[in-house]
Symmetry: C2
Subunit: 406 residues, 2 copies
């Protein structure tokens, strides 16, 4: 398997991208991103679990339910979320489909739409219309990276990757882009992901693989515990490689590659967490069920006291244990082991049987001072485990979010 760090959604065969500046964000910034497939695609989507959902989420759910074997385009605008916009917003999202269909020459039910940005403001439909038309005019395999750039909001860097996967019948490719830096949490918080592949897979299999992959990637990251109204991951398979996947070893290889690229794109979001200076991997092992481990890891990842301790390079294991204990999952504190490190390979044991081991404080401080911190909590209550990725909570997070709209 071959990872291309500067790979994009247009690396898979038969995909092109177009972009435009429509002044939905500040003028001079790309805010329209169009991904287009020259052939019909099987498509799958995973959406926010928030009760409050944005218009494009409603429209995409409908579109995928009706036409998951014939998708041609994904149109994303940044700068405006089209959320809490009522019937007008819903009509506007459908209008976005129409405009895109006209720009690329397909029908409206072949278009998926994504929006991200401020909530409660109607889309500027005239500017959107000219932006979409312009993006349709510059479709090109060279515009993959710009397509990823155009979906950014508070992101400080562009998140794009592609993989090559040699299968029994030939090589297929997966390309992906994501955006998100604040409001990131399971499940799928202000996070958009668009994945393309030139493998040939039926829509129901594609949905199965995408759901599994997001469960262990996009749903395992937490910047601030908030989930947005717009979060969506889409996967389009156009079959242009001529390589078909229906099961067996090829299916497993493809799924593993999809998990890898989804985890890669997820971790990039954490590394770009608003104000983040630390990347933290939290592994909880030894629980009766996987969901227990996930719940405890999440509780640690969401604790402001833990996250500020990471920011202060403070090896404050008391806060980690208190956050684990409040997750609502029973465990015996006298059987816990807590280890920390910087590479996920070598560990310093801070607690054993729930008690400090007598480690040297300067060794712990040295680990917490690094940019990448790994925390491993073993509970000795079972065989299940889970991993969650998060970041620290810094002054810059407060600065970014106290004045987002001003």
């Amino acid at each position: 398997m071959n990872i291309l760090k500067d790979g994009t959604v247009t690396d898979p065969q038969g995909f092109v991208a177009g972009v435009a500046e429509a002044a939905i964000k500040k003028p001079g910034k790309l805010d329209i991103s169009l991904v287009y497939s020259e052939r019909d695609c099987a498509a799958a989507g995973v959406f926010t679990k928030n009760q409050v959902v944005a218009a494009p989420v409603i429209v995409d759910r409908e579109t995928l339910a009706a036409n998951s074997a014939g998708i041609r385009a994904v149109l994303t605008n940044s700068g405006n979320a089209n959320a809490a916009t009522g019937a007008v917003g819903l009509a506007n999202a459908r209008q976005m489909q129409e405009m895109t269909a006209e720009a690329v020459g397909c029908t409206a039910d072949q278009v998926l739409v994504l929006s991200t940005g401020v909530i409660g403001v109607q889309l500027p439909m005239d500017r959107l219309a000219s932006g979409i038309a312009h993006a349709g005019e510059n479709l090109s395999a060279d515009h993959g990276l710009q397509a990823a750039e155009a979906i950014r909001t508070t992101d400080t860097f562009t998140k794009s990757r592609s993989y090559e996967i040699p299968l029994s019948g030939g090589t297929v490719r997966i390309g992906g882009m994501s955006k998100g830096s604040g409001m990131i949490h399971p499940n799928m918080a202000t996070m958009l992901g668009v994945l393309t592949t030139d493998a040939q897979i039926e829509a129901h299999l594609l949905q199965e693989i995408l759901s599994e992959a997001t469960e262990v990637s996009f749903n395992c990251i937490s910047v601030d515990g908030d989930t947005s109204t717009n979060d969506t991951v889409l996967l389009l398979a156009n079959g242009a490689s001529g390589v078909s996947i229906s099961g067996g070893a090829d299916y497993d290889l493809f799924k593993q590659a999809l998990i890898d690229i989804c985890q890669e794109l997820s971790k990039l979001i954490i590394r770009d967490g608003e104000g983040a200076t630390k990347f933290v991997e939290l592994m909880v092992t030894g629980t009766p069920a996987q969901s227990d481990a996930h719940q405890i890891a999440n509780s640690i990842a969401m604790s402001p006291l833990v996250k500020t301790a990471f920011a202060g390079s403070d090896a404050n294991w008391g806060r980690i244990m208190a956050a684990a204990g409040k997750a609502g999952v029973p465990f015996d504190q006298n059987k816990t082991t807590l280890r920390v490190g910087n590479d996920g390979q070598t560990w310093l044991t801070l607690l054993e049987s729930g008690l400090p081991t007598g480690y040297a404080e300067e060794d712990a401080a040295a680990i917490f001072a690094q940019g990448d911190i790994y925390v491993w909590l073993e509970l000795s209550e079972g065989e299940a485990q889970a991993t969650v990725w998060t970041c620290d909570l810094t002054h810059d997070y407060v600065t970014i979010n106290a004045d987002y709209r001003t």
Copy 2:
């Protein structure tokens, strides 16, 4: 009912207090607080729900289970939480009981102990011993306020109140003190509360009343969503007023007074939230069950995006709605009404039927610029409701918690 803002735990008859500097906190600060009743007390306690609990919580649960009708003293040390201290810590907590019993002249099973401060460090037993002895020597009805001062950790002010309640058989008094400013969240996060009353009530009724009162007070506050290993609220009734309460209107009056003082002491903790500049009351109405409303209010109270918006005086209702929607409680976003204000009486309606009302942005901004903000979310799905109190998330919160141990 008479509220005394400078009232204390020694206002009820027959209670005295003693304090000492034992150098468990920085030298020169009170860190030993002893509340003593001249008569045996009925006693009740509510404790942290964290899986990881401190030694004094274990000891107090045992002591109350064995002797809830014969308590004489509550000894609190600040500066050290005696948590994650294993068998040695448990022995030390029992030793604290012995030392206190000797200082006041009762038996060890008549003493409840509380500890708050850093985790994972053993108590300095020699300094503790002389501190407790000294506190026993200066027991006085005049030391109520100092007793409240001595239980502080990062608190910036002392939290103490007392109430006079005229009942059919005469007047009784309730006095209370609390501490806590960070790590405050349902259920009972790094929060200590000690309440005294000179009413005569049986222990099982006292426990019933205290549990009800904490449910709508201490368990409805959230600074940062974290719960500590030590949180405890204790209530001692010594009967010194000669007024007995066993049911009827007196019971209801007494319970309401206890709820009032618990809510008052809870709100003081929020006003003292680490780095807080805003006091926020969140009322969620119109849910099928009270627990639904509580869950949604909590989700809003715990959202870092909402809390930073309060800090920035940003009337960002999109974040409030997104936080409500992620609580896991189903509701129809098209039936929601969101109102904000500064006094809980007059309101500005921001959303109706889930859509912005066309309010003037400067009116909303003026409300969010005040120190006290009231938010009222009506869901139109039922008749239940809940209220939660929280504060904003500021730069100072990060500063305080990034470097707590340094």
